[in-house]
């Protein structure tokens, strides 16, 4: 009872501290609103304004028609270049694709001699290279067959492939981007809030003050966790409803309450992590470097940026120990696919286990180093 009271009072103190720190408040506000909006909107569609150039050695009606088939938003308006410039523009990275239409192309095509169109792709731009090439093949094929249809009959394809994207029928990038940005924000802010706040207390000498009071290390730590957790959970919920659902108009399939539960578990883990890092770093500069070292892999490898299943096995296994991985999995399932607790319970259990482990480790370390903090 006495413990609970202490934890409550200390937590309230943390909330007051944040409330009176305008820089931090502005930062949090920015991260949970504008940052999410701009990041989501800045992401182009998968294939967007891909720069393309043509080497037209045929100058026929057909070649003109093919070139006309490329237009925004998928492609930049195509530019015509000379054959000898082809290497140069690719080397300079001006264009991702250069299509070469050979001489006598139309004549050969009409005669059924199957001429060859050469597509050169700058494969260092992997993401554009893959999808762009598919689009290019399709556009060329359809332009040619349409053109030729006027001259000779063409049998229809007997089997049609109907593609249906579920959960995000238009494959809108910002649906995905906004929620992933929110997830990154949750991780970043909670680690900074919990960790940097502890370092700052250390620098201002207030930890020392706390330690001579009749409160225990565990009470201090739990109070930091619950107050940070509450603030970030609140910010996340508001951002989900206000920014993502209302402002960005992203439809949310699943139960928001279940998502908030996930956020709470994730925060339990990340705040413990932040405190742990603050006990390792001796000064703010060291904490800054350490934070980047931890934050970057957490954000880039949790499955929020590129699909998890494509990562090397070893990384996949290592990342299972990171709370973000499970958090991303559960959030995607809940928010996009409308999954319920019957589906995401393994992730919730994993989060709880990881969080408890982090908490115990951080508490042990906090207790051990607390006298050095003063």
């Amino acid at each position: 009872m006495r413990k609970l009271k202490n934890i409550y009072y200390l937590g309230i103190k943390e909330i007051w501290s944040l409330w009176r720190d305008p820089t931090m408040l502005v930062l949090i506000l920015f991260v949970f609103t504008l940052n999410i909006y701009t990041s989501a909107k800045a992401l182009p569609e998968t294939l967007h304004k891909a720069p393309i150039a043509f080497v037209d050695e045929d100058h026929s009606q057909l070649s003109g028609r093919i070139i006309d088939g490329f237009y925004p938003p998928y492609f930049m308006p195509p530019r015509l270049i000379e054959l000898q410039d082809m290497d140069k523009v690719l080397d300079a990275g001006e264009y991702t694709f250069v299509v070469n239409i050979p001489p006598d192309f139309e004549k050969d095509a009409m005669a059924g001699r199957k001429p060859t169109v050469q597509v050169s792709v700058d494969a260092t731009r992997v993401s554009q290279a893959f999808t762009g090439n598919g689009y290019i093949s399709q556009i060329i094929s359809s332009q040619v067959s349409e053109y030729l249809a006027g001259y000779r009959s063409n049998e229809p394809l007997p089997v049609e492939l109907v593609l249906r994207a579920r959960f995000n029928p238009g494959l809108e990038q910002f649906w995905f981007g906004s929620v992933m940005e929110l997830i990154d924000a949750v991780t970043m802010i909670s680690i900074i809030l919990a960790g940097a706040a502890l370092i700052r207390e250390k620098e201002h000498g207030t930890v020392e003050h706390l330690l001579v009071m009749p409160v225990t290390a565990g009470e201090i730590m739990i109070s930091k966790i619950w107050s940070t957790g509450l603030i970030v959970t609140l910010a996340t919920s508001l951002s989900l409803v206000g920014v993502i659902e209302t402002w960005l108009q992203v439809p949310i399939e699943g139960s928001k309450l279940l998502f908030v539960l996930c956020v709470a578990l994730q925060l339990f883990a990340t705040t413990a992590m932040g405190i742990f890092m603050a006990t390792i770093a001796r000064s703010m500069p060291q904490f800054g470097l350490l934070m980047i070292l931890v934050l970057l892999p957490l954000q880039m490898l949790s499955g929020g940026m590129t699909p998890r299943e494509s990562m090397p096995e070893l990384i996949q296994i290592i990342m299972l120990a990171a709370p973000n991985t499970h958090f991303v999995m559960a959030s995607q399932a809940i928010l996009y696919r409308g999954a319920g607790i019957d589906v995401v319970w393994p992730q919730l259990v994993a989060l709880l286990l990881i969080a408890s482990a982090f908490f115990v480790i951080a508490l042990t370390r906090f207790r051990r180093t607390i006298s050095l903090l003063a």
Partner: protein, 910 residues
């Protein structure tokens, strides 16, 4: 007699507070002038103005016959002024040795090597530091630090020596030695003017001339003797109080300490036996024993770093003792014993209230944490507010209150739970004499009326004499523990200070740190004045800053390791982890036909290397459920009658359900499915009727250039390079300037002849070097670990990397110059580098495909161009000729960012 300093109508305001309020004064040259007054009355502000460290905004200030607002004049007299800022070794570099510190300052003022050696040897011999040349400045005692600071100040023969509280926190022996030293220097160089600020009134007695200051105003300017005569007092302290405005000393009355009559000699509140504290091989507290009776005021006296605070921390349970035992109220000290803690109140040296909580919030929080019953809290808080006169400021934030009131609040907080023992660690340092005496009155009342035991540490002798008993501490040992009178008797002296010096001399007589009187301080003063200080860019000054910064970096191995190891780790993790190849996608077939043809179709699908087949789906519900859980990314639904209809030549639709929750992955799946479907069709058509070609009228021949297998690693590794080479170097330099701002050594930029560009470039150099090494490590990792060969011109890559590092470190400096705190600098440089590098530089999406502001950033930021060069050299086999178009923008960015950094770095404090 001409004047060395002449000021009129000087005004300095910080936000709401007026630090200097219309100051006008005239200081004659060749004199030792003392600036007296408590902390925070504007002494330091005035001195920093005179030293040229702070810009004159209002009023006139002439120093050494020139206007301090004139930049040319400041540059001219820079080397004639020596300034030692407040704080022990504030302008010294703690990780550097005595020798290195002196070398650094000597280099700045342009002495050659032989001259530097001679001066350093002479100065250190004269001050007794010669034996400690190789010791890091941070490990010197307070007195020695101040001597080193003095050496650093004297190394360039100044005409005006400015010392800001040089002896605060220094033990009395070191203090008297310090003044002897100054005295001898003045004998040899009588033309030198010395301006000293001090809070110790007793020191001021020996100065030629005094300026008494309070609240930004000058109370009096006169000689010490005259001041005593004018005020009709016996001591300068009393004289100062007499000089204060009426309203300030209205409720002042001298502290009277009633004699201590212990009710019971055996009633011991606190006892220590053989307490020892070791940090590594350094003994902070050595075998300290004492016992304090209930209701006693027990003083702990000693210089900074002598072990007072450490002893107190051990008694509060903050630090576990290495050896020895302690008892509180007869119970052996147990850090986990929460109940004993409730009987103790502690007030630490560093001000430790919650500055974000109001006065009343602070009081209530502490009352609650100490377990005061909820119904009693309001009354208790009220009582404390009354007693400590806080009623008017209950809703103010501590930061807005003057120091004296904050100290009272601290005491109120420490008292809110009515402890029986108060442990106070230097509670009165920095408080003006009137507030200090008021504070003592409160404590005396607590001790005598409420029988609270008070254990207090101080370095003010007059406070010590009010204690019932005191212990003199020096270098971790208690020299003597007795009543003040008894201590004076033992040494047969009139003052406690002299007695203390006597004990210190006994303790240190075998050490020869003491100054040999014969050694002249500066024999050479006439022989070789410092060479003219170059008004133009000086490579030597830049190098001396570079050398110093490198030494500091080398002595912070954690930062250095993180810089190297950090970029390596990130390269491995992200290089391996981030991949654009979408493979091993999970898919299942929902075959509602179950004919040979439909099975043939699904077989074709599962044969692809992109897909891994999962067990078949049997119903729409199952399809839904398994896709929701994320198990399946793709489901191929084959309609009933697929085989039959197809053989009849009827139109059939096959549905591909794709998980769209990750759009980029969905797009890739779409492409794969279409491809596989197409090839299946072609195959079928060939088998059914070999005549008609359905495969299209043209061939499309795709050539993946530079990366024929479209492997992500080849694309990602060159793309990682710019990101890492931007973020880590920027983060390293981002802390370098702001750290000096926080620690105070930035003052060396203000008062030495160093130019801003020399300062910045000097700081940048070591990090450029570090980052360039880091670059080669990363290239080696790319080649050896990731097997991504460099096919183009390695020279071009290295050259571009070097230029880019110049930009990245420059950007860090800019962030550092711009911000005030380290955390803000970290934040600014992280956001300022990570966002352009990851999102706008073309790492994943090419710049040309971006839109709006993102595109603009991508087009002007050098990181995009370094990315082009990196990919060009790594993957495309290009050389200098082909890439010079991308190197030029990076080259242009370097002077731009450096110019901005210089522009925003003030050469004076504002």
């Amino acid at each position: 007699m001409n004047s060395v300093i002449c000021a009129s109508d000087l005004v300095v305001t910080y936000g709401q507070t007026q630090a200097l309020d219309n100051i006008s004064l005239d200081i004659p040259s060749g004199q030792m002038v003392g600036l007296i007054g408590p902390d925070g009355v504007g002494k330091s502000t005035l001195l920093s103005l005179i030293a040229g460290a702070r810009a004159v905004s209002h009023g006139q200030l002439m120093v050494l016959q020139g206007d301090m607002r004139d930049k040319k004049h400041r540059e001219k007299i820079c080397s004639d002024i020596a300034y030692m800022p407040q704080g022990l070794g504030k302008n010294l570099y703690p990780t550097l040795s005595v020798e290195e510190n002196l070398q650094f300052f000597a280099q700045l003022f342009g002495h050659n090597k032989a001259e530097r050696r001679r001066r350093i040897d002479e100065l250190t011999q004269a001050t007794g530091l010669y034996r400690f040349l190789s010791r890091p400045a941070g490990k010197l005692s307070g007195g020695m630090k101040q001597k080193l600071g003095l050496c650093c100040a004297l190394i360039h023969d100044p005409k005006l020596l400015i010392l800001d509280e040089p002896t605060t926190g220094v033990d009395p022996l070191a203090r008297s030695q310090f003044w002897q030293l100054i005295g001898r220097i003045r004998q040899q160089q009588p033309q030198m003017s010395v301006l000293v600020a001090t809070a110790y009134m007793d020191e001021a007695q020996q100065f030629d001339y005094l300026i008494a200051m309070n609240a930004g105003q000058i109370l009096a300017t006169t000689t010490p003797d005259e001041m005593l005569v004018q005020t009709g007092t016996e001591s300068l302290e009393a004289a100062f109080i007499h000089l204060l405005p009426q309203n300030l000393r209205a409720n002042y009355k001298p502290v009277v300490v009633p004699p201590f009559n212990p009710q019971n000699e055996q009633d011991i509140a606190i006892a220590a036996d053989g307490l020892t504290m070791k940090f590594g091989d350094f003994t902070a507290v050595d075998n300290v024993s004492f016992s304090i009776r209930r209701g006693e005021i027990f003083g702990f006296l000693g210089s900074n770093g002598c072990g007072k605070s450490t002893t107190m921390k051990m008694l509060t349970g903050l630090l576990p003792a290495t050896a020895g035992r302690a008892w509180l109220f007869g119970n052996e000290l147990d850090p986990d014993d929460v109940d004993t803690r409730k009987r103790v109140g502690y007030m630490s040296q560093a001000f430790s209230l919650y500055s974000e909580l109001t006065v009343i919030q602070n009081l209530v929080l502490h009352a609650r944490l100490f377990g005061v019953a909820e119904h009693a809290i309001a009354g208790r808080v009220d009582e404390m507010a009354q007693r400590f006169a806080l009623t008017d400021v209950l809703h103010a934030l501590p930061a807005d209150l003057p120091l004296g009131i904050r100290q009272r609040l601290s005491l109120a907080v420490a008292m809110v739970h009515k402890p029986e023992l108060l442990i106070l660690d230097e509670p009165t340092s920095g408080v003006d004499p009137v507030a200090r005496d008021n504070f003592w009155q409160l404590m005396v009342d607590l001790a005598r009326n409420d029988h609270v035991t008070i254990f207090i540490s101080t370095h003010f002798m007059n406070e010590a004499s009010r204690c019932d008993r005191i212990s003199l501490m020096h270098e971790g040992k208690v020299l003597i523990s007795a009543e003040p009178e008894e201590i004076k008797q033992q040494k047969q002296t009139d003052s406690l200070e002299e007695a203390f010096i006597g004990f210190l001399q006994d303790a240190t007589c075998h050490q020869d740190e003491t100054v040999s009187e014969q050694n002249p301080v500066l024999t050479n003063s006439e022989t070789q004045r410092s060479p003219g200080v170059s008004r133009f860019f000086s490579g030597r000054r830049m190098l001396s800053f570079a050398k110093r910064e490198s030494l500091e970096l080398l002595r912070d191995p954690i930062r250095l390791t993180m810089a190297f190891l950090g970029s390596m780790l990130l390269m491995v993790f992200i290089g391996y982890g981030i991949t654009m190849d979408v493979e091993d996608l999970s898919f299942a077939v929902f075959d509602r036909d179950q004919s040979i043809l439909s099975q043939n179709y699904s077989l074709n699908m599962s044969g692809s290397r992109y897909f891994i087949e999962h067990p078949q789906v049997h119903s729409y519900d199952e399809l839904d459920q398994r896709m929701r859980s994320g198990e399946l990314s793709l489901v191929i639904e084959i309609p009933p009658g697929f085989g039959r209809d197809l053989s009849k030549g009827l139109q059939v639709d096959v549905a591909a359900w794709i998980d769209g929750s990750m759009p980029s992955r969905a797009e890739t799946i779409k492409g794969y499915v279409q491809g596989i479907h197409g090839s299946w069709l072609a195959q079928q058509v060939r088998q059914m009727n070999s005549g008609v070609s359905l495969a299209g009228a043209v061939n499309i021949d795709t050539r993946y250039r530079y990366n024929p297998d479209v492997v992500s690693l080849i694309a990602m590794v060159p793309a990682m390079m710019p990101m890492l080479m931007l973020m880590i170097p920027a983060l390293l330099t981002a802390l370098s300037v702001v750290r000096e701002k926080e620690l105070g050594s930035i003052v060396n930029l203000y008062v030495t002849p160093v130019k801003r560009l020399e300062f910045l470039l000097g700081k940048q150099l070591p990090y450029i070097f570090t980052s360039f090494i880091s670059f080669f490590i990363l290239v080696a990792m790319a080649i050896l670990l990731f097997k991504v060969p460099v096919v183009g011109s390695f020279f071009t890559l290295s050259l571009t990397a070097l230029v880019f590092i110049l930009f990245a470190t420059g950007f860090g400096l800019l962030a550092s110059v711009f911000t005030k705190s380290q955390i803000a600098a970290i934040l600014l440089s992280t956001i300022g580098t990570m966002i352009p590098a990851v999102q706008f530089a073309g790492m994943i999406t090419p710049v040309s495909a971006l839109e709006g502001a993102g595109k603009l950033i991508g087009e002007i930021h050098p990181v995009s161009y370094f990315l082009l060069v990196s990919r060009g050299v790594f993957s495309k086999g290009l050389g200098f000729e082909d890439l010079s178009f991308a190197i030029v923008p990076i080259l242009i960015s370097v002077p731009v960012v450096m110019y901005c950094a210089v522009l925003f770095l003030p050469k004076q404090e504002r």
